[in-house]
């Protein structure tokens, strides 16, 4: 029997413990390091989440791509001005049918081995291997036979990539792909050393020691869900050009308020804001920066024959009352968003200038009379007295719900149309989208690579992301035309045709181009924001005194 006598505890113990604790705290915690250090060229940041997948062949999320873009490098890369520049490849030659890359001799893995053409062959085969089940396998579809292999119809060795020797890589293309070089700067196409990959087995990229790095930085310390530290990679071929010594993600939390608090406390040097933290940042008199992320948000309709949204007049009626300017100013809580006008965001390049300057999108001014007329015609065509309530499927984020409620109120007052809002969590919303269980869905699209095609083929009949099953032979024809040409004039003219169809057919209702606002320590120079790939890019950043 345990004999525990409370008489043994002296009354003085509690204060003693308290004093002791205070002493520990005071001495264990001398003035802590600040968020930037010019002498040591160190910057501290917070990640929004633990990178779920640092295997570049299967990574799809922003945080993993952010980290990978700093610690690995592809055949090409983006330089400090955001132009495509040599990476592992010193020079290249692109034709309508093939691409040849000459690799630099001094490109090395973090274990000292040279980066060779074989490392690319291995990685690319792995990406399109159906067993890998990479969601980004389609990035490599311009390579000969990639799609057939990915669908299990051809052996891996049929992939159009060949190591002529250690430093020469030849890629055979399935079709002319003018933007192919840009794909080689994306994480999915980065090299992986076969020997190392096989040695780590299924644990490849599970921990910092389970990855080989060939980028400007390497991960020196990774405590899952706690911190991830990147240090300058001494084996990197261009390490003289890199100023930062350490990018230290000392915190990992999705809570934007916690990150703002860390910024106020000078523990991190960069943080993104949302509608809630925006006002606090203003109150603290921080300089708020803006950036357009490159994503477009829109309402997508269901074209399955049993849904009344397949009626064009109905869609046009909604288009005729929607005011994108009002929406952006009234509903979106943060500055920096642009009113939606097209499927193509304003940053996408055309032949010489941004596409939207070369081919301006049609402007719709809200016109209530026209909308009511269109709605009457729609009812007549559908043979309905009244339009039954339309189901609007949205995700469960507070912003999405707010936007849906705005649409609900607006359509009710202006057109007497009823919307039923169906709020679903992430996976459930995806399931409903895929099964076509909606009339209208709140959707968005971000670019996967820096070419207009990343948006253009979205509503092609064969595209699996076309969840409303829009099917228009003319649309498909224009996409094919742009796909099979290397001539920018031809491609952009085809895309201009698409832009017109999107508007005239009211395929989608463009709502806004997403902008984000963020805080950045004034001593950080050269941090690059980018719409594709690793964002923000600290590779060429430096800390000024």
């Amino acid at each position: 029997m345990l004999d525990f006598d409370f008489h043994d505890i002296e009354p003085m113990t509690m204060p003693k413990i308290l004093i002791l604790t205070l002493l520990i705290v005071t001495f264990a915690n001398p003035a802590m390091a600040q968020s930037v250090d010019a002498a040591a060229q160190t910057v501290k940041i917070a990640l929004a989440q633990e990178p779920p997948q640092l295997n570049n062949m299967t990574a799809t999320d922003q945080v993993s791509i952010f980290v990978l873009g700093h610690v690995m490098e592809g055949l090409t890369r983006y330089d400090r001005r955001g132009n495509l520049a040599p990476g592992v490849a010193e020079r290249w030659e692109l034709t309508e049918t093939s691409a040849t890359f000459w690799l630099r001799k001094d490109a090395k893995w973090s274990n000292g081995d040279p980066v060779t053409a074989h490392d690319f062959v291995f990685a690319w085969r792995n990406v399109v291997d159906p067993k890998t089940a990479s969601q980004y396998a389609f990035i490599l579809y311009p390579v000969e036979n990639a799609e057939a292999i990915n669908q299990g119809n051809k052996p891996l060795t049929d992939l159009g990539i060949e190591a002529i020797d250690d430093l020469t890589l030849k890629v055979t293309l399935e079709r002319p792909t003018g933007y192919f070089l840009k794909l080689t700067a994306f994480v999915t196409t980065f090299p992986v050393q076969e020997k190392f990959y096989r040695a780590t087995g299924s644990a490849y990229a599970a921990d910092s020691k389970d990855i080989l790095y060939n980028g400007a930085f390497r991960i020196s310390d990774w405590v899952h869900s706690a911190s991830l530290k990147m240090e300058k990679n001494p084996n990197y071929w261009n390490s003289e050009a890199i100023s930062l010594e350490v990018i230290d993600a000392e915190y990992i939390t999705a809570d934007t308020r916690a990150r703002l608090n860390l910024f106020i406390d000078d523990k991190i040097a960069y943080t993104q804001l949302d509608g809630e933290t925006y006002k606090d940042a203003l109150n603290n008199q921080f300089r708020i920066k803006k950036f357009v992320t490159g994503s477009v948000y829109f309402l997508e309709y269901n074209y399955r024959p049993e849904r009344i949204t397949h009626n064009k007049k109905l869609r046009q009626a909604i288009q005729a009352v929607f005011d994108a300017d009002e929406f952006v100013n009234k509903v979106l809580q943060t500055p920096g968003n642009l009113p939606g006008a097209s499927l193509f965001p304003s940053w996408i390049m055309g032949v010489n200038k941004p596409f939207r300057q070369e081919y301006p999108a049609a402007v719709t001014r809200p016109d209530l009379a026209k909308a009511k007329q269109l709605l009457r015609e729609a009812k007549a065509e559908l043979g309905l007295e009244a339009i039954p309530p339309l189901i609007l499927l949205v995700s469960d984020s507070p912003t999405a719900t707010k936007q849906a409620e705005y649409m609900q109120g607006m359509l009710k007052t202006k057109l007497d149309l009823d919307l039923k809002i169906d709020v679903q969590t992430f996976k459930q919303r995806l399931a409903k989208m895929t099964n076509g269980d909606f009339d209208i869905v709140g959707a968005g699209w971000g670019p996967d690579f820096d070419d207009i095609m990343t948006f253009g083929d979205l509503f092609a009949s064969w595209n699996l992301n076309n969840r409303g099953r829009y099917n228009n032979p003319e649309y498909d024809r224009l996409v094919r035309k742009a796909m099979n040409s290397n001539d920018p004039e031809v491609r952009m003219a085809a895309m201009a045709g698409l832009q017109t169809i999107v508007h005239e057919d009211a395929i989608i209702l463009p709502m806004y181009e997403q902008g984000v606002i963020y805080l950045q320590h004034p001593k950080i120079k050269g941090m690059r924001r980018t719409v594709v790939g690793s964002d923000p890019d600290f590779t060429y950043a430096r800390i000024v005194p």
């Binding site: 509690m14 802590m32 089940a133 969601q135 299924s202 869900s225 916690a258 406390d265 969590t425 399931a431």
Partner: protein, 310 residues
């Protein structure tokens, strides 16, 4: 005593089996496809993933395979972090939650017993009224409010005095643990205070206390040896489940203070429909809770011999 212990363990195992089965069924009943992602994938790729995770088999077979693996202590590979074992996730992150939880429960138990005893001693006087007011606040205000307020307060203190009194967030040193564990333990501390108060009040009028007084024992001896020791029994009863609740329920606190605990995985797995992590963490937490309850029952047997005799 041995028979009693054995019986408790057996019923505990049945409970765990029930938790595993119920979670398995509920999880599969939730609509949505765990293999689906923002970018649509071809049916071939989905099939390959389904095969990798054994989702291509009939649900009954999946259940049998799952139970078999569970008995061997293997929870499989995470769906979201496809190169991490669920066992590793639990191993890496539970100790963090546990360390935080233990500190929180220490704050809660010490505070609860102390305040509870104090309020009973000063019944209906000012200290009692003040403490009981705070207790109601502690019980009714959810931990995410305290977490946000606690952090904001720290930021402001650091700003005003231009010092780093305590870290605002993060993990690694004892200093990182203090504020989060206080926040985490606050609710339990309030609960224990109330429990301790009522149990002390019951005992104050008992015969054996009057006898002790009549014998001329000093008030402090009566307080510590007779009142406290007897009043603490109900507190011990709830302490077990409370320890489990605190070490597992810190999701919000972990998020706000950027702490790499298991709670974040537990909640995110449900949002992501990460089947293996849902199962792994739920069964693990379930087993932990059952274990704590059994432990309390056994400890109770030591403190109060009457329990064993029944």
């Amino acid at each position: 005593m041995l028979k009693y212990t054995f019986g408790r363990i057996l019923s505990g195992l049945v409970t765990i089996w029930f938790i595993a089965t119920a979670t398995f069924l509920a999880m599969h009943a939730v609509p949505g496809d765990p293999l689906m992602n923002e970018k649509a994938t071809t049916p071939e790729i989905r099939e390959n993933l389904a095969r990798k995770y054994g989702l291509d088999k009939p649900i009954a077979e999946q259940y049998v395979i799952y139970l078999g693996n569970m008995v061997q202590g293997d929870f499989g590979i995470s769906f979201t972090q496809q190169n991490r074992k669920v066992n590793d996730i639990i191993q890496d992150h539970f100790p963090v939650s546990a360390a935080l939880g233990i500190l929180a429960i220490t704050f809660a138990a010490l505070g609860g017993i102390l305040w509870g005893a104090l309020t009973a001693l000063y019944r209906n006087q000012l200290p009692d009224i003040i403490i009981m007011f705070l207790v109601i606040l502690g019980i009714s205000v959810p931990s995410f409010v305290f977490a946000a307020l606690g952090q904001l307060l720290l930021v402001n203190i650091n700003q005003w005095f231009n010092i780093s009194l305590l870290p605002v967030a993060g993990w690694g040193t004892f200093a990182h643990m203090i504020v989060p564990s206080l926040v985490l333990g606050l609710g339990t501390m309030a609960l224990l205070t109330r429990l301790m108060r009522s149990s002390m009040l019951e005992i104050v009028n008992e015969d054996f206390i009057r006898t002790a007084r009549a014998k001329g024992l000093s008030p402090s001896r009566i307080f510590f040896q007779h009142q406290l020791r007897n009043a603490i029994l109900p507190v011990v009863t709830v302490l077990g489940p409370q320890i489990a609740a605190i070490t597992t329920g810190g999701f919000v606190v972990e998020l706000v203070f950027a702490i790499p605990g298991l709670g974040r995985y537990f909640v995110q797995a449900v949002q992501q429909l990460d089947y293996t992590v849902i199962m792994g963490t739920t069964v693990f937490y379930g087993a932990f809770l059952v274990f704590m309850v059994i432990l309390v029952d056994i400890i109770y047997g030591f403190i109060d011999p009457r329990v064993r005799l029944k």
